[in-house]
């Protein structure tokens, strides 16, 4: 799954994900007709609109063994919210089937013990996205994958479990509060002395980097796929 956010602002992310998977020996197909998991409408309180888009996603990914998603948030949507979104619908079984086959990118690497043999990188800090951390209950797989990258030094920031304040539509509805949280996160990341923050979720990164740039906090951002697929 490319994810709509990668299509919108960073096609490099899904391409790097594919590269990393192929280098680890996985046969990867990227269905051309794919769009979005439906999360934007779901969390904005419009389940019917979300379902129509999610239904398309279910059809596009029918037949793949596993659906690897370079986003804890999109994976969490399919795994955790699809069962509720499709409860009582005629395609409920298909939704549950996709939820069972869906897995976040670094969790997929950990599950199959894969090493994408990434190029060396320097010091970085890891942002745990909330959906990765609390919906998928995962904070080890990204760190395990980074531990295999030559020269990679993870410097943990303070309050790693604290939300960055992105929150999808929340970022647009409550910009000031969202911005404050983003600034706190960018400061915590910069305080580690690492020049860049890495995360499994592009949404958080777009927000943290955007707030850091606006407020002059020196911080680069990269999706974890870009590190692992380099």
């Amino acid at each position: 799954m490319r994810t709509c956010l990668s299509d919108a602002i960073a096609p490099k992310v899904w391409k790097a994900t594919r590269r990393a998977l192929e280098r680890a020996g996985v046969e990867v197909k990227v269905p051309r007709g794919q769009t979005c998991c439906g999360q934007p409408a779901w969390t904005a309180g419009h389940p019917d609109q979300a379902r129509a888009v999610a239904r398309h996603t279910i059809k596009v990914f029918a037949g793949s063994d596993e659906v690897v998603v370079p986003s804890g948030s999109c994976a969490g949507m399919v795994i955790h919210a699809f069962p509720e979104l499709f409860a009582g619908q005629p395609d409920e079984d298909d939704a549950l089937d996709l939820a069972l086959r869906t897995i976040e990118f670094t969790q997929f690497l950990a599950k199959h013990d894969l090493d994408p043999r990434a190029k060396a990188c320097g010091a970085l800090t890891v942002h745990d996205s909330c959906h990765m951390l609390r919906v998928l209950d995962e904070n080890e797989s990204p760190r395990d994958a980074l531990a295999k990258v030559p020269g990679c030094e993870v410097r943990e920031m303070a309050h790693t479990d604290q939300c960055c304040g992105f929150g999808g539509v929340f970022a647009l509805n409550f910009p000031e509060l969202s911005g404050r949280l983003g600034e706190q996160k960018a400061q915590a990341a910069a305080a580690t002395g690492a020049p860049e923050v890495v995360s499994c979720d592009l949404g958080c990164l777009m927000h943290i980097a955007g707030r850091a740039h606006r407020t002059g906090i020196p911080l680069r951002a990269r999706h974890i796929s870009e590190v692992l697929g380099s």
């Binding site: 602002i9 992310v13 304040g165 970022a171 509060l177 740039h213």
Partner: protein, 471 residues
């Protein structure tokens, strides 16, 4: 003097709440003292929670607490009937109030019938919910909040900012200033112990005058008809024993079956709320004073409020009835940590408040319909909840149920979005358009201003037009 000053501060009406929810978050974010006070409180709660997990097996206790509360909600009608008949058998009066008006009317009528003038209250969110202070002030009664935090915010003319720590948004210096104002003298201590001692003296004077004591209820135990009140200051024990009449106000969902269940919840509650393995005072009240007893009130009235709760049973929101009002979800919430409870403009703030307020007030209530949107859905609240309420999921459901002009407007955009993104071809066209827009507007790898809904984004942050973003 002090009486006149207090009269200036009747129960504050929530209709006084100004501005939109977003405006109030902006105001709160501008207050650096508030940010400091909230951070201190949040950090201390977070540290305490770790101790509870490490030393007291808190996580395991949560599972049982959740099961108990689920079973209470399933059996609620029978448990309430049992509670009611046992309270009556113990010599108490039980009143079932369908809504706030009924509850307030019963209590003010009772006060009038007994010729009461002064009412002493201990902390109660249920009375805050039904706006009992306003009703009693309106009926000409003097209401004294005897919980230290409640008294402080009564003096400050403010709403509680937290379910169990109503004045947590104020620091010591701010409290000292309020006390000086109330006492009409500068001779008020400024250290922590001194302030508490000062409040104790001022409040004891009031206890002696109060004819009625009003308390909340943490749990009602059906099997014996007992109400449990948990506190740390001892004021609730005075409120429930000193005045001639004790009125306990209880949300109907706060019923448990027996002492086995009550004992567990009474332990989990202070652990979740304030990281204490036991509350300083647990008052167990089984009816009024009996013959031969030396203390206790002559009359005991239990007012059980529905207020929209009964209708939640069997609905997709049923799990909120498990709530034991510990306030853990507030402390854990990054939104609450940064703006405090008052920005919510409702008695209940934080994640649980954002869910239950519109449920109790109705989906189109202007005061609360936007509340479910004030969350990043980060899930910290769900992890913090001691009775396993899936708060993030309920926030999403509450958004689907909410109706507001802003949501209707967004609904139109999402309808178009949904039509375009359910097909690969039209999706790719929107992406081509979006990326072209980024390229045209981008300067040095960043877009500084976006139109339409995107303006919410660029109000506080830039949008990267190249990835990885330039520094």
């Amino acid at each position: 003097m002090s009486t006149r000053r207090r009269r200036r501060n009747p129960g504050v009406a929530y209709s006084d709440v100004k501005g939109t929810l977003r405006d109030r978050t902006v105001d709160a974010l501008r207050d650096p003292t508030l940010a400091d006070n909230l951070r201190t409180a949040g950090d201390s709660w977070g540290a305490g929670r770790e101790v509870m997990k490490r030393d007291f097996g808190f996580d395991q206790m949560r599972d049982r607490a959740r099961d108990i509360r689920r079973s209470n909600i399933r059996n609620m009608p029978a448990l309430l009937a049992e509670l009611q008949s046992n309270v009556r058998a113990n010599g108490g009066v039980v009143v079932r109030a369908a809504d706030a008006d009924e509850a307030c009317r019963y209590i003010t009528d009772l006060a009038r019938a007994r010729g009461a003038r002064v009412v002493a209250k201990s902390k109660s969110m249920a009375t805050e919910e039904i706006k009992l202070n306003e009703a009693m002030e309106h009926a000409g009664l003097e209401v004294v909040e005897t919980d230290l935090g409640e008294w402080i915010i009564q003096l400050a003319n403010e709403h509680p900012s937290h379910i169990i720590a109503p004045a947590v948004h104020l620091n010591r210096d701010q409290v000292a200033a309020l006390f000086r104002d109330e006492a009409g003298t500068d001779d008020v201590p400024t250290d922590r112990e001194g302030l508490v001692a000062h409040a104790r003296v001022r409040l004891r004077e009031k206890f002696a005058q109060a004819e009625i004591g009003i308390s909340g209820v943490n749990l009602g135990v059906a099997s014996t008809g007992t109400v449990c009140i948990v506190e740390n200051e001892g004021n609730a024990r005075l409120v429930t024993s000193q005045p001639r009449i004790h009125v306990a106000v209880m949300g109907m969902e706060r019923v448990v079956a027996d002492w086995d269940e009550a004992a567990h919840i009474l332990q989990v509650l202070p652990m979740a709320a304030i990281s204490q393995d036991a509350a300083n005072y647990v008052s167990l009240i089984t009816g009024p004073r009996r013959e031969g007893e030396t203390d206790g009130p002559e009359e005991f009235h239990l007012v059980i409020i529905d207020g929209g709760r009964g209708a939640l049973r069997g609905s997709e929101f049923e799990e909120v009835l498990s709530c034991i009002r510990c306030g853990a979800c507030l402390y854990s919430c990054p939104m609450w940590q940064n703006v405090g409870g008052q920005a919510y403009g409702s008695p209940y703030s934080g994640p649980i408040g954002a869910i239950i307020t519109p449920l109790l007030e109705g989906p189109s209530s202007p005061g609360s319909r936007d509340l479910p949107f004030m969350s990043t859905l980060c899930g910290a609240c769900g992890d913090a909840c001691p009775v396993g309420i899936p708060l993030p999921d309920l926030l999403v459901r509450a958004r689907a149920r909410s109706s507001s002009p802003a949501k209707r407007k967004a609904g139109l955009a999402f309808r178009v979005w949904s039509l375009l993104w359910r097909r690969g071809v039209t999706y790719r066209l929107t992406m081509i358009g979006w990326r072209l827009g980024l390229r045209i507007r981008g300067r040095g790898g960043w877009v500084h201003r976006l139109p339409g809904p995107g303006s919410g984004w660029t109000k506080v942050r830039d949008m990267p037009s190249k990835w990885p973003p330039r520094r």
